[in-house]
């Protein structure tokens, strides 16, 4: 089950303060990067929910994000729905797609689950690529942003939009924590540790998996809606399996199953990508080598490594205080 430790609170506080300060001070390019970080962070939160707490390593979360983006694009730009309605509908659609995928794949485990989700993701990609209604490989353009002029905020301004995305990230994080702490989330973690026992206890395990997968898909859909509003354009590239793969890389670099770690991972990944791209066009090589090194080191990502170090540093103190208790008794 997910718990907040003092270290996690501290990291969250640092992240929130840093991002807010960046949003207040950054120039145009910095705000673009900040928005990119916030959107990626929402996506990896959704992925960590199922992969880190349910053992469902999904390679279709990029596609689910794409479904959200396309649904919003089509509803808002082509069907002419009001942006808030289109947003809600897009999130619901990606959640529904996700629930169905989760329900179908619930029986598969390990590598088969990865392959099955990959197949569904590619299915969505091919459909978007070939469908004339979705603009084929030209994509859909002219996507409006949410209109908040009623409360005096213009989201077409880079700074306002970055703050809006950060707010959405905070909301997504809150939702993920609530879901993981609920009975549903605890059941999911139980299933990850021992599915047969949970079934013997009387749980309908595929329903639990599908439900959490659906909720995770809604969060991924939110990331997609924001991505569509950010670049005001969607193309099939958004659904490619490499997007899902990159999201998985971010989760692993940050720390699987820590929820805070992937946020750290998202910040590091986007900053690293831009820094390396400034120096050399071969940033994939650097990311690849870092990924191999992190996995070989057997640490649970950057944040997992820090947590393990802090735990080791605290461990002797816990033992000594227990000894004192024994003495006093």
């Amino acid at each position: 089950m997910f718990r907040h430790t003092p270290l996690r609170y501290a990291t969250l506080a640092v992240l929130a303060a840093g991002m807010f300060a960046a949003a207040m001070t950054a120039e145009y390019f910095g705000l673009e990067i900040l928005t990119e970080i916030a959107i990626l962070a929402i996506l990896v939160l959704a992925l960590d929910m199922v992969a880190g707490f349910g053992g469902m390593v999904s390679l279709c979360h990029g596609a689910l994000m794409g479904v959200g983006a396309y649904a919003y694009a089509v509803l808002a730009a082509k069907a002419g729905l009001a942006p808030p309605v289109a947003m809600a509908a897009a999130i619901a659609i990606s959640g529904a797609c996700s629930w169905v995928i989760g329900a179908i794949c619930a029986r598969s485990h390990g590598i088969y689950f990865i392959m099955a989700t990959l197949a569904f993701g590619q299915m969505a990609y091919s459909y978007a690529f070939d469908s004339a209604a979705l603009g084929g490989d030209d994509g859909v353009s002219g996507i409006p942003r949410l209109d908040l002029s009623a409360i005096g905020i213009d989201l077409n301004d880079g700074q306002s939009f970055a703050l809006f995305c950060l707010l959405a990230l905070a909301a997504a994080y809150g939702a993920a924590v609530i879901i993981l702490r609920s009975g549903l989330g605890r059941s999911l973690t139980g299933i990850m540790h021992n599915e047969q026992r949970m079934r013997a206890v009387g749980l309908v395990t595929w329903r639990v998996k599908a439900d959490v997968f659906g909720l995770s898909g809604m969060i991924a859909g939110l990331a997609g809606v924001l991505a569509a509003q950010h670049i005001m354009f969607v193309s099939p590239g958004l659904l490619a399996w490499t997007v899902s793969g990159e999201a998985l890389v971010v989760v692993i670099l940050g720390g699987l199953g820590t929820l805070v770690g992937p946020l750290v991972g998202a910040v590091l990944f986007v900053l690293l990508k831009h820094e390396i791209s400034n120096v050399t066009p071969y940033w994939h090589l650097v990311v690849g080598v870092i990924l191999v090194a992190v996995v070989m080191s057997r640490a649970n990502g950057v944040f997992g490594w820090i947590e393990a170090r802090v735990a080791r540093w605290q461990a002797p103190r816990v033992i000594s205080s227990r000894k004192e208790q024994v003495k006093n008794a």
Binding site: V57, I104, C105, R107, S108, G110, I111, Y112, I114, M115, A116, L118, A119, F120, Q122, M123, S126, Y127, F129, D130, W241, T242, G245, L248, V249, I252, P281, Y282, W283, H284, L285, V287, G288, V289, I290, L291, V292, V295, M296
Partner: protein
């Protein structure tokens, strides 16, 4: 009517040619998985590497030199990867393996870009195979027929090695139960190594064969990876029969889907894959029952 017949003949040959190319790739991947339980997502990158080696060598010494050099070069690369990374990752679960090989995809992609640049390379079909041959009443490029024949020959060769020789029996024993096989005195570790290098060599061969048909680009490995994975998941991991069946299913569904129902063709194969996974989660012909 004869025109109609010609259409079917050409499509069948196209499907066979695609199937055989995929078979060359998937057999290496599937046997490596069956024997070592190792998921090598970088298999597509090895194929791209093979294609590049073939193109470079062919531009100097002709097609056949590249055809021979590519499998050797890729087997050597596989050897290096095995010794440095894969041997250590053997005992970890599928997740770290997927990630390690995913990192390798990134690294190899940029390495090929650094060595060979971003521009697409092409190689000429050898003179002896450049013509067209009349088969089943249609003119068909000889080179594509060569691919079909090569795939069939390799299938026959592998099938007889696996079924009739001692090393084949050892491999089958290893796939079935590696702990028991090593108790019986089979050096499973060395067997793994051998099979891994063979799989890599076949990926390199596939790259060399595909190079004249497709242009050689850095992302060709990424493009072929998904079809290869679909083949082995439909066919079932770890078996020769699964690899050939999966390749044929993919080749025919893809080719005839594109010819007969172009709107549906792209999602047809994925829908089929989903159906297979739902009804038979371990594929049609898994190595273990």
């Amino acid at each position: 009517m004869s025109q109609d017949l010609g259409f079917w003949a050409v499509q069948t040959l196209n499907a066979l040619q695609l199937s055989m190319l995929l078979f060359l790739l998937s057999i290496g991947l599937t046997v490596i998985f069956g024997l070592m339980h190792f998921v090598n997502l970088a298999h597509g990158s090895l194929y791209a590497f093979g294609a590049y080696v073939a193109a470079s060598v062919a531009s100097v010494a002709g097609f056949w030199a590249g055809f021979i050099a590519a499998p050797i070069a890729v087997a050597v690369l596989g050897l290096v990867l095995y010794v440095t990374l894969i041997k250590r990752m053997r005992r970890s679960g599928p997740m770290p393996q997927v990630l390690i090989t995913f990192g390798l995809i990134f690294a190899l992609l940029d390495l090929t870009r650094i060595i060979w640049g971003d521009l697409a390379l092409g190689i000429e079909v050898p003179a002896i195979l450049s013509g067209r041959v009349s088969v089943l009443g249609v003119e068909y490029p000889a080179y594509r027929l060569f691919i079909i024949a090569l795939g069939a020959a390799i299938y026959a060769g592998l099938a007889s090695v696996l079924a009739r020789t001692q090393i084949g029996a050892m491999i089958r024993a290893g796939v079935d139960n590696d702990a028991m096989a090593s108790c019986l005195g089979i050096n499973v570790e060395r067997l793994f190594f051998l099979v891994f290098c063979m799989g890599c060599a076949l990926a390199g061969l596939a790259g060399a064969v595909a190079a004249p048909l497709l242009s050689v680009t850095p992302d060709m490995g990424l493009q072929i990876l998904i079809p290869t994975l679909i083949v082995i998941v439909i066919g079932g991991l770890g078996s020769l029969k699964g690899a050939i069946a999966g390749s044929l299913i993919y080749g025919f569904v893809q080719t005839f889907g594109a010819a007969l129902a172009p709107q549906l063709s792209s999602i047809l194969i994925y829908a089929l894959l989903a159906a297979v996974l739902v009804t038979r989660p371990t594929g049609l012909f898994p190595a273990k029952g």
